[in-house]
């Protein structure tokens, strides 16, 4: 232990604790811009500086570990020198920033703006001098990069290069000319970016943002010729409440449905229904591969970021990918075939909107072989954040809305479906149905498979079902995927079924979710908190296995036939191809 003083008050802290962490543990939040725990401790932004007895200059508290040599030292966290330094740092950052705050995507949720407010820095010209001007990179389908708002904190670079081990963005050039960009300044769309959006949720400012597709939704809603339907992914209800002042991990399914109805959607569906269909198809596919000598291990295909990763970085595993479309696409496909027929609507007149925790879904809707009715299964994919914008624009007082239920049949879902949004959820849902089948369709087959739950990046488990031992693995985050697939490739691990999600912790921590500032990221496990919301919904559901869903049974009986039928294959399955984008 080291005995130190913070602002004159004595504390005893563990050796190796950084000044910032020591302060935080004792009730003082040191402001930061560049620091992201575990992935970006580079001491670059100089916002977290503090004064310390015996130090020649101010100290960057995020990268200063306390040791026995610091015994007895006094740390000042808000002395005039500290506050003046932080203020000047902000002024210098602003001297090369476009300060386009009014309609910026992050206004009100911008860490730079918040700090300026706290430290009393306004938009006066503090320093005259050169200013960089950058073109906005609009090339990618899911996001844009506006370097005029970039503060070079490098958090996005860490998210891409370390969390995901991809590294298609980095710092180019030097000094004042430094910018975050791709190799040879190529547009993002020409690189093997997988569209996961982890860089967006890491960005403190509006430099990185999803492409806003809400105008398309508003236009569809205002068009009397169109039938506009919407589906919401499981993880959306686990994060949406954060934008309206609910504690993290509060499920807001009922109010979300009420909001969508009030926005004017003609039918409110639930991606959970698509997830239940996915389980029917995927568990069938898995058992078919096991019994008929198909390619194993089979790997899940729900996460479009993971699919893009596989196609670009591990094309040798394409035969291992489940041919199942993602729940979003299955829901869209059934909407425009089964539901359209049932309601007597021409699928061309249906506008199918999805609300997703994910930016890669914007890419997925335009993929080949995703048009069951000859028109795209899903027309517009918006993120959780864009739904927040729509709710606010419409003046809906979210907290005052009643809890309502989505429409049937495509708006229902089992407990198995809702946990798709957390890492391990797809595996658990698949096991619920696969084990039921393997045990002779025994209604008492197990529901909970706790070994595959939790936020660890790589989890493995083994289940004995009859004479079969099923070895499964659950992986989230692409750095973990790379590590694990390399082991599979080298024959170091053996398994039959792998769930892979591009984002660490799964969709609850997706690139399209409500953005939490670094201060929350650094001290809260967002993945675990949001996952709690989904497991509580699973627990509360009376139907917890996909094959027990009455609506799913009805769709199979009246329309699809059996899981894995020719028709199911036509509508609910897809294909993949290796991509050759720049890595």
């Amino acid at each position: 232990m080291v005995n130190i003083k913070i602002n004159g008050i004595e504390y005893s802290v563990e050796e190796g604790t950084t000044i910032l962490e020591a302060c935080r543990a004792n009730g003082i939040r040191i402001p930061t811009l560049c620091w992201l725990k575990d992935i970006n401790a580079i001491g670059a932004c100089r916002i977290c500086v503090v004064e310390m007895t015996g130090a020649r200059s101010l100290v960057a508290s995020c990268v200063y570990p306390l040791s026995k040599f610091d015994e007895g030292k006094n740390i000042l966290t808000h002395s005039p020198a500290v506050l003046e330094s932080r203020k000047m740092t902000l002024q210098l950052i602003l001297s090369n920033h476009n300060m386009d705050c009014l309609a910026c995507s992050r206004s009100g949720n911008c860490e730079l703006q918040q700090l300026c407010k706290e430290l009393g820095v306004d938009n006066s010209t503090y320093f005259e001098g050169a200013k960089n001007e950058y073109d906005i990179d609009l090339s990618a389908k899911h996001m844009y990069r506006d370097n005029n708002k970039c503060i070079l904190c490098r958090r996005c670079i860490a998210a891409c290069g370390i969390t995901q081990d991809i590294g298609v963005i980095g710092a180019n050039n030097r000094g004042f000319n430094t910018s975050v960009a791709c190799a040879f300044e190529m547009p993002l769309a020409e690189t093997a970016c997988v569209s996961c959006g982890q860089c967006i949720t890491a960005c403190p400012t509006g430099a990185l943002s999803e492409k806003d597709d809400t105008d398309k939704v508003w236009a569809a809603l205002a068009d009397p010729e169109k039938v506009v339907v919407v589906q919401t992914a499981p993880a959306v209800r686990a994060s949406l409440g954060e934008a309206f002042g609910y504690e993290m991990g509060t499920p807001v399914e009922g109010k979300m449905v009420a909001a969508l109805k009030r926005l004017g959607f003609n039918a409110v569906f639930d991606t959970n229904f698509g997830a239940d269909l996915t389980i029917m198809e995927e568990s069938h596919e898995f058992l078919d591969r096991v019994t008929n000598g198909g390619v194993l291990p089979m790997i899940t295909s729900c996460s479009p970021g993971w699919i893009r990763y596989c196609e670009a970085y591990f094309p040798e595993f394409i035969p291992n990918l489940s041919s199942c479309k993602s729940p979003q696409q299955m829901n869209g496909a059934i909407t425009k075939t089964y539901w359209a027929q049932k309601m007597g609507i021409d699928p061309k007149n249906i506008v199918s909107v999805s609300v997703m925790p994910c930016t890669a879904k914007k890419f997925e809707i335009g993929r080949d072989d995703q048009s069951a009715a000859g028109v795209p299964d899903v027309d517009i994919a918006i993120t959780t954040r864009e739904l927040v914008k729509m709710i606010n624009k419409a003046g809906l007082r979210f907290r005052d809305l009643p809890d309502e239920k989505a429409d049937s049949p495509l708006g229902t879902g089992t407990g198995a479906a809702v946990i798709f949004g957390a890492t391990g959820g797809v595996m658990e849902a698949a096991l619920r149905t696969a084990v039921w089948k393997l045990t002779g369709e025994n209604a008492d087959s197990p529901i909970e498979f706790n070994d595959v739950r939790g936020v660890e990046g790589i989890k493995m488990a083994e289940y004995k079902v009859g004479d079969l031992t099923v070895k499964v693995a659950v992986v989230s985050g692409l750095a973990n995927a790379k590590k694990f697939l390399t082991q599979v490739k080298n024959g170091e691990v053996e398994c039959h079924f792998i769930e892979i999600m591009a984002c660490p912790g799964g969709c609850v921590n997706g690139g399209g979710q409500v953005i939490q500032p670094a201060d929350v990221h650094n001290f809260t496990d967002i993945r675990a908190e949001r996952a709690k919301a989904l497991y509580s919904l699973d627990n509360a559901n009376t139907v917890r296995k996909s094959h027990e869903s009455a609506d799913v049974k009805e769709v199979y009986e009246n329309f699809l036939g059996e899981p894995g039928s020719h028709k199911a294959h036509e509508l609910l399955h897809t294909t993949y191809k290796a991509s050759n984008l720049s890595k």
Partner: protein, 166 residues
């Protein structure tokens, strides 16, 4: 910024050069901090580090291309462009600069449509600024390969370039 519209000179790498590059990579691949020596030797082999060369390094080492490009654009010792048949260096040291070498440099950029470090698409002229070459008595000075030209004015530039018409 700024480097998006660079002149492109067709890549003329030979099989021997590629073989040499792959040997260099193989020799360093598993060392920590291998990228700098690989880049330095790659530049010795090719004279510069175009996308074709950086891509081979990325594929062989598993280092993302962007990371390599970031290092190449960080250090002044690395060039993304080949040197021309005639390499023009304009001294921007203090003495030359006060005598107007900045004007010479800007005029050459305009005449040859080049930015610093670039090469004309026909591979003939490359242009770069350099620091003091110790010929301050002749300021302002520029060199073309091993020829030194001093006491120049902007008006002299056409005559100087005309000597390299071939």
């Amino acid at each position: 910024m700024g480097s998006t519209e660079k002149k492109s000179v067709p890549f003329n790498g030979t099989a021997e050069q590629e073989k040499a590059l792959r040997e260099v990579i193989a020799a360093h691949k598993d060392q920590q901090g291998a990228l700098m020596p690989i880049l330095q030797q790659a530049q010795d082999i090719y004279g510069y580090l175009p996308i074709e060369v950086q891509t081979i390094i990325a594929e062989e080492t598993g280092i993302p291309l962007e990371k390599i490009y970031g290092v190449v654009t960080f250090y002044a010792q690395f060039s993304l462009f080949p040197k021309g048949k005639y390499k023009i260096s304009v001294c921007l040291g203090t003495a030359c600069y006060v005598k107007g070498s900045g004007d010479l440099y800007n005029k050459l950029k305009e005449k040859l449509s080049l930015e610093d470090g670039e090469c004309t698409p026909d591979g003939k002229f490359s242009l770069e600024a350099c620091r003091c070459i110790g010929a301050c008595g002749l300021a302002p000075v520029l060199t073309i390969n091993d020829d030194v030209y001093g006491k120049l004015t902007v008006k002299d530039l056409d005559d100087v370039l005309a000597k390299y018409a071939d």
